[in-house]
């Protein structure tokens, strides 16, 4: 062995021989002591040698600690001290996409914008919707408050013949685009320009403006709707949900005006045919899709996602499994059967579900762990078992109580609370890992109609965060109590929610963030379906 190599070895594993001996000793101890390890006999079987939380694993862990430190990769992810490690956010810094909507009013543009935003944010892209209507309203509002002048925003404002207003609207669209580009430059990934962008000229302008920015690309997303029923529903939603444009107007008047506004747009509307633009055209949400000049990974994902959407009314039910024996003992993970109260919950479910859904078709999804399968046991619906729905893998801490973890791995315990979303259990998973693994589940969920999911706390937190657009930092603290069915009804701008708590007692497994008196994510968002009319960007 030449000098260089020796040196090299010394650097990588400074106390190699002693730690190897220790490790081997640990392994031998374990091999010998297999039958002697008490308290872990599940179903009359011996524990795995590296039983979660077992003293041997800990011993081994300590014995190799120095070698681990010495071999840390030069850049993140860096292992934190102790057993687990923390993973940095994926680097999306080079993804800069402008997604410009195209479509007549009431064609679901905002619906698609919001949906996409939620999906991409959940995948940790930085996404923002820039809604030109919002900007118009908030500016007018501002003006009205300052000077008392009320702008006329009835249909004549949107007429192509109204030269003054057309200029104003052009200006608004351009301002909104500038704001959007500024935001992308500051580090955003996907900016959605939610406006009608209905003429070739407007699109050419957008495309020319974005082309000036290095590394940015623009995709047009046209939404066409031929179903009169869907348009009528959209119109009704628009005029009845408190749009300030129609404040204090009788419904019929508002509706007439809005329909006139659509007519004004129709007069000048040009569907996308420009061969040099990259665009995605969706007809009747998901029924038919045209892609042109779409390339890139994120782009193909967006396209695939949009192809899987539908707008049929449906409900998604989320429920944790009934109380398990591990819940009662305060242990995490494991694959324990239900407690008596958990079984009572399983027994009470069929009636609750039937009362809610009647004879409508329903598919039940469970994880592969017996507590969810047992919980779904008495329901007379088709069932599907997903490995991807299994609980977050707590690695070495699987099967321990929080007290035991705190005792065995105090530093880790603290680290986890510091950044629970990113904390990865040694040999296990982080919440971020779970989000990655749930992505195909979300895709499937978008395609399906009525679904009832029996999941686990961490899993349901991730799914719930997707439907309610909750930030990653809050995600691990969402309160999903036992013996409660959460009913989500997707609506145009979010999800309606109802909770049914069965009067069957259960332990509370929710741990609020220590030291935090605020607990906003613990609070159920009553409804996120309300449309934002003014937005935050003025």
């Amino acid at each position: 062995m030449d000098h260089t190599n020796e040196d090299h070895n010394r650097v990588h594993f400074p106390i190699l021989s002693s730690e190897l001996t220790a490790a081997l000793g640990a392994i031998e101890d374990m091999a010998d002591g297999t039958d002697a390890v008490p308290d872990s006999v599940v179903r009359g079987r011996p524990p795995a040698i590296f039983r979660a939380g077992g003293p041997m694993l800990k011993q081994f862990d300590q014995s190799t600690a120095s070698s681990r430190k010495g071999s840390q990769a030069p850049t993140p992810p860096r292992s934190v001290v102790g057993i687990g490690n923390k993973v940095a956010k994926p680097d999306y810094s080079e993804a800069k996409i402008v997604l410009a909507m195209v479509g007549l009013p009431a064609r679901g543009k905002s619906y698609l914008s919001n949906k996409l935003m939620r999906y991409l944010k959940w995948l940790e892209y930085d996404v923002q919707v820039f809604n030109v209507g919002q900007l118009r309203r908030s500016r007018a509002h501002h003006k009205a408050q300052q000077s008392g002048i009320l702008e006329d925003h009835t249909s004549s404002y949107f007429s192509h013949n109204n030269v003054e207003a057309t200029k104003l609207r052009e200006q608004l669209a351009e301002d909104s685009l500038e704001m959007l580009i500024r935001w992308l430059k500051r580090g955003g990934n996907v900016a959605i320009h939610d406006a009608t962008n209905s003429t070739r000229m407007r699109r050419a302008k957008i495309s020319a403006r974005v082309a000036k920015e290095k590394g940015m690309s623009v995709i047009f997303l046209e939404s066409i709707c031929n179903d009169p029923a869907v348009i009528a529903a959209n119109v009704a939603l628009k005029v009845s949900s408190g749009d300030p444009d129609y404040k204090d107007l009788p419904r019929e008047v508002a509706e007439r005006d809005f329909l006139r506004r659509i007519k004004e747009y129709e007069a000048v509307y040009e569907t996308i045919t420009e061969p040099h633009l990259s665009y995605l055209r969706i007809t009747d949400i998901g029924n038919e899709v045209t892609l042109s000049r779409i390339n890139g990974y994120l782009q193909s994902r967006i396209a695939f996602y949009l192809m899987n959407l539908h707008v049929k009314p449906r409900n998604i039910f989320l429920s944790r499994h009934g109380e398990s024996q591990y819940n009662v003992e305060g242990r995490i993970g494991g694959d324990s059967p239900l407690s008596e109260r958990g079984l009572a919950y399983a027994h009470a479910l069929p009636e609750l579900v039937r009362n809610n859904i009647g004879d409508a078709p329903l598919i039940v999804w469970t994880s592969t762990l017996q507590r969810t399968i047992q919980t779904a046991g008495e329901l007379p619906y088709p069932k599907l078992t997903w490995k991807s729905l299994d609980e977050l893998d707590a690695g070495v801490c699987d099967g321990m109580t929080y007290e035991e973890i705190e005792q065995a791995y105090p530093e880790d315990f603290a680290n986890r609370d510091e950044d629970k979303f990113n904390y990865r259990y040694r040999g296990g998973e982080s919440y971020r890992d779970v989000v990655v693994r749930l992505e195909p589940v979300i895709m499937e969920l978008e395609r399906q109609e009525n679904i009832l999911i029996f999941g686990h706390q961490a899993i349901l937190r991730c799914l719930y965060a997707y439907f309610h657009d909750l930030p990653q930092a809050d995600l691990p603290y969402i309160n999903v109590p036992l013996h409660t069915v959460i009913k989500l009804t997707p609506k145009a701008y979010g999800c309606d929610e109802e909770r049914y708590t069965l009067p069957i007692g259960a332990v509370d497994t929710h741990r609020p963030k220590p030291g935090s008196t605020l607990s906003p994510p613990d609070v159920v968002p009553a409804s996120t379906t309300k449309r934002e009319y003014f937005g935050t960007n003025i």
Partner: protein, 546 residues
């Protein structure tokens, strides 16, 4: 055939019914490449899929170009004999299509030129009447380079031109294309759903696509390309504790040595392979994927550090601190999930442009309660489960564990990214993960996945070709841990050779792979034999796979 989430009584998945994909395009437009890639992917999803290639069928029944009547490919009036021959070939193909659907197949990709609108219309109407969804898949190429490369690499090596002078063959082939161009009608009709791929994935246009399976097909097609590239697979180095999933232990001394050796060998081997194919290795980047497990991403470490470094880089290694004898790349590790986002910062004199990406989905198979057990212990303590595992090692899931099937499902996004990746790729992975990925690339049936033997110390080189992949294994290392010996085997080189007596009895999945006699040991010969590229004269690669 690896990852359907469920099965159905009819054998048809995703409520999609039966689908016939008609390829349309002039010769040498990558139709076969696209067809085969799609076939591989759909089969992997569990969809019973078959490519029916008109060219292959013609070659099989009539023989190569020289045996054909002179007017077979030319334009204009054809003799009645030639007409009869052509009809016989297309009838034969249609028979193959019908047979496959009748036998329970779900998707047929009819790989033919289909350049005339009336032909397409007739075919589509015929099958539409039988309740089969017809999709037109047109491949258009306006990039002359792609066409030329395609002709040189694929067409003139086909049995049609066996024994021809290459330049003459190319000329003959261009002649064939020219004649077709005159009668070619691009797809303008919107009667049928259609997908148009421009320059093999550069751009894509889709019309009237409905339903999940079809959208999945589009998603896949959006992510493929035929830029020449190499894919390498190697196992991670030996770790301090080999048989524990939970321990996530670090590399052993032998593991670190292995990592260094791996780097040297990959650099050397890749340079050779690229030169053989006429590429300059200095122009190309090497992307390395590892799992987030320590032993995997630490095996990639030497790629990021100077060859004989004596210091632990604390931050990005600085060019100034690098030893002079080797060019140093300053590289960036990302923990990115989507790939392609972080630029490598390489110094000007760099000979190795590397990017390392950790992927959470690439963790090894989770052994659940069997973690750390030897096969003997598992058999003893979990006899019932053990029996089921032996019966169906692909689908059986031990308590808390993942089956190979679960693993395949988890790896699905990785496959898409694998297809997408344009740079040369080295996957440093756990053997279970390599098994699944390799099975996908080669087109092995799922049932064989658990038995694929991936020896530590072998570098697998997989080169995508138009008919499939060409793969070879190179043996480069014989140290401890090659076939799962315990950490105590350190240093004793003589016994390092395939010694069953010295292997680590606790290494569960490896022992399974090694013990299945008569199954796949991944040597160059075996892989070559399995590779569809060896069967291009046949009517369809892996025709017996379903």
């Amino acid at each position: 055939m690896a990852a359907p989430l469920y099965t159905t009584a009819s054998g048809l998945l995703f409520h999609a019914g039966k689908i016939l994909i008609l390829t349309v395009g002039l010769p040498a437009r990558g139709k076969t490449h696209i067809s085969r890639a799609l076939e591989r992917y759909l089969r992997w999803m569990g969809v019973k899929t078959q490519v029916v290639s008109l060219g292959d069928y013609r070659r099989k029944t009539l023989g190569g170009t020289k045996k054909l009547p002179p007017d077979y490919f030319t334009l204009g009036e054809k003799s009645p004999e030639t007409m009869a021959l052509r009809k016989m070939v297309s009838d034969g193909c249609e028979k193959l299509i019908e047979d496959f659907f009748e036998a329970g197949g779900q998707v047929v990709i009819y790989d033919a030129n289909n350049g005339s609108r009336t032909t397409r219309q007739a075919l589509a109407e015929k099958y539409d009447k039988q309740g089969i969804h017809v999709i037109i898949l047109e491949s258009v190429c306006d990039n002359k380079e792609i066409i030329e490369t395609n002709i040189r690499n694929v067409k003139i090596s086909s049995p049609d031109y066996r024994g021809w002078d290459p330049d003459k063959a190319v000329e003959d082939y261009y002649g064939r294309i020219r004649d077709r161009e005159k009668s070619y009608e691009t797809v303008e009709e919107t009667t049928w759903p259609f997908i148009r791929i421009i320059n093999v994935g550069e751009k894509i246009m889709v019309n009237n696509i409905r339903g999940y399976l079809q959208s999945r097909i589009v998603f896949f097609l959006m992510n493929i390309h035929n830029r020449p590239r190499m894919i390498y697979f190697a196992r991670s180095g030996q770790s301090l504790i080999e048989h524990s999933y939970k321990a996530d232990s670090d590399l052993s001394p032998a593991g670190w040595e292995y990592a260094e050796r791996l780097k040297e060998f990959v650099v050397e081997r890749r340079a050779k392979s690229l030169e053989q194919r006429g590429f300059d290795p200095n122009d190309r980047r090497l992307v390395i994927w590892t799992s987030t497990r320590r032993r995997a991403h630490h095996t990639a470490w030497p790629f990021l550090t100077p060859t004989h470094s004596t210091s632990i880089p604390q931050q990005l290694p600085l060019a100034a601190a690098a030893p002079p004898q080797s060019a140093v790349a300053r590289n960036v590790v990302t923990t990115d999930e989507a790939g392609e986002l972080t630029e490598t910062k390489a110094t000007a004199d760099s000979s190795l442009k590397v990017k390392v990406i950790e992927k959470t989905q690439m963790s090894e198979i989770n052994p659940g309660v069997w973690d750390g057990l030897t096969p003997d212990q598992a058999r003893k303590f979990y006899s019932e489960e053990w029996a089921r595992f032996v019966k169906d090692p692909y689908a059986f899931r031990a308590p808390r564990a993942e089956s190979y099937h679960d693993l395949s499902v988890r790896l699905e996004p990785i496959l898409i990214e694998l297809e997408r990746e344009k740079e040369d790729l080295l996957i440093i992975g756990h053997s279970s993960v390599i098994r699944c990925l390799l099975a996908y690339l080669i087109g092995l049936p799922a049932s064989e996945i658990p038995a694929i033997e991936i020896a530590r110390g072998d570098l697998l080189e997989v080169v995508p070709t138009s008919y499939g992949v060409h793969s070879q294994a190179f043996h480069f290392w014989d140290g401890p841990g090659r076939r799962g010996e315990g950490v105590d085997g350190d240093g004793d080189q003589e016994e390092g050779e395939v010694g069953k007596s010295r292997r680590d009895e606790t290494n569960f999945y490896e022992n399974y792979a090694e013990d299945t006699k008569g199954k796949k040991r991944m040597t160059a010969m075996d892989i070559g034999f399995l590779s569809p590229s060896m069967r291009e004269g046949g009517e369809g690669a892996m025709a017996d796979g379903t």
